[in-house]
Symmetry: C2
Subunit: 192 residues, 2 copies
C-alpha cells in the first residue's frame, strides 16, 4: 500500500519460490480534497478493509512515512499509513514497512529512480504489457515486489510469529462474517 489521502495505491501480487511474481490486483483509493479529513480517512479505511477482505494477504507492505518529507500532505499520508497498519493488524496480518528509497533500489537498482522508471520496471517484473497507472498504483506494486525480495527481518515486529496461516484464515473468515453482518444491519435485515 502506497499511502495517501488523495490517492492511496493498493497492489496485490502472488508469488511462489523460483517463479515470477504475478499481478493479482491493483487500484487506487481516491478521496476528494474538499471533503473533511475525518470522512476522507473513513472512506479510505473502508476501502482498505474491502481490499484486505477480498484478497486475505499473507503480509501487508506499507511505505514508511518520514516527518522530514515536509510537504503539506505528510500528516494525511502518515494517517493513511496508520489506517493500513491497523487494518492489517486487526486481521492478524503482519505489516512490513519499506522506505521509498528501498523500494526504488529494489525494483530499479537505484534509490534515486524517478516515477517513470519505477512504473516501467514494475511492468517488466510482473510481465505486464502496459505500465500501471497512476504512479501510486505502480508504487504499491513496487512495494509488494520489494517485500517479496526483502532481506530477512524486514517485518514490523520481526520477532513476532504469533499468527500462523491457519489463524489468519480464521481471522479472515471472522472478518467476512462481520462484513456480512454489517451489510445485514445496513439493509435492516434481521440477523439470525
Amino acid at each position: 500500500m502506497d499511502p495517501g489521502l488523495t490517492r492511496c495505491g493498493v497492489g496485490v501480487v502472488d508469488s511462489r519460490p523460483g517463479r515470477r511474481a504475478v499481478l493479482v490486483g491493483v487500484g487506487v483509493l481516491r478521496t476528494a480534497p474538499e471533503t473533511s479529513t475525518d470522512l476522507r480517512l473513513l472512506e479510505i479505511s473502508r476501502g482498505l478493509d474491502t481490499w484486505l477482505d477480498e484478497h486475505v494477504p499473507d503480509v501487508v507492505a506499507v511505505e514508511r512515512v518520514f516527518a522530514q518529507n515536509n510537504r503539506g500532505t505528510v500528516m494525511g499520508t502518515a494517517q493513511v499509513a496508520g489506517l493500513a497498519m491497523v487494518a492489517a493488524a486487526r486481521r492478524g496480518v503482519p505489516v512490513a514497512l519499506h522506505t521509498p528509497s528501498e523500494v526504488k533500489a529494489a525494483v530499479t537498482g537505484s534509490g534515486r529512480a524517478d516515477k517513470a522508471q519505477v512504473q516501467k520496471m514494475v511492468a517488466s517484473i510482473l510481465g505486464l504489457s502496459v505500465a500501471p497507472e497512476p504512479a501510486d498504483a505502480a508504487d504499491a506494486l513496487a512495494l509488494a515486489v520489494t517485500h517479496l525480495w526483502r532481506p530477512a527481518g524486514a517485518l514490523q515486529g520481526g520477532d513476532r510469529h504469533e499468527t500462523t496461516p491457519a489463524q489468519r484464515a480464521w481471522a479472515a473468515a471472522e472478518q467476512q462474517a462481520k462484513a456480512r453482518y454489517r451489510t445485514g444491519v445496513r439493509g435492516r435485515e434481521q440477523v439470525r
Copy 2:
C-alpha cells in the same frame, strides 16, 4: 482526545447551556514502546472504540497535529489522531480539531501556558479537587472544554450537518450490536 502512541489521553465532559461543564470520564490509553507500531495502533484503535461506544459523544475534539512539531513521535501522534477521527466518523460523530495553543489559550488565557497551568485550570473549570494526572489526561479534558467554549465553525467540515442526534443514536446502537457480535465471535458462541 489528546493523541499519542505511548499515551493517548481521553476525556469526556458533559455540558448544558449556562451550567458548569461536568467531568464524565477521563483516562489514558497506553501502549508499550517495545511493541510493533501496527499492534500499538490496533490496541489504541480498540481502546478508542470502547470509549466511544460507552459514552456516545455528540462531538469528538482531537488535537491538531503539525508536521513542524519535529519530534520523533510526530508520526505516531498523527496516526493516532487519524484513528480517533475515523473512530468518530464511523459512528457519524462530528470531529473538531483544535491546536495546542488554542487549547492553552482557551483554558488558561495564554497560548504559552505550561502543562501544570493547564492541569490546574482544568481542575478549576470542572470543579475537581485534584488536578487530572497524567498531563495527557488533563490535555484531553482541556480539549473538550476548548470545544465547549469554541467560536462557531470549529467543526471539521463545519458545513456538514447530515447527522442528527437520532441518527447518531441509531449509529451508536448499531455499533453496540456489532460489539456484542464481536464478543460472541471471540467467545466462539453461535450468533442466532
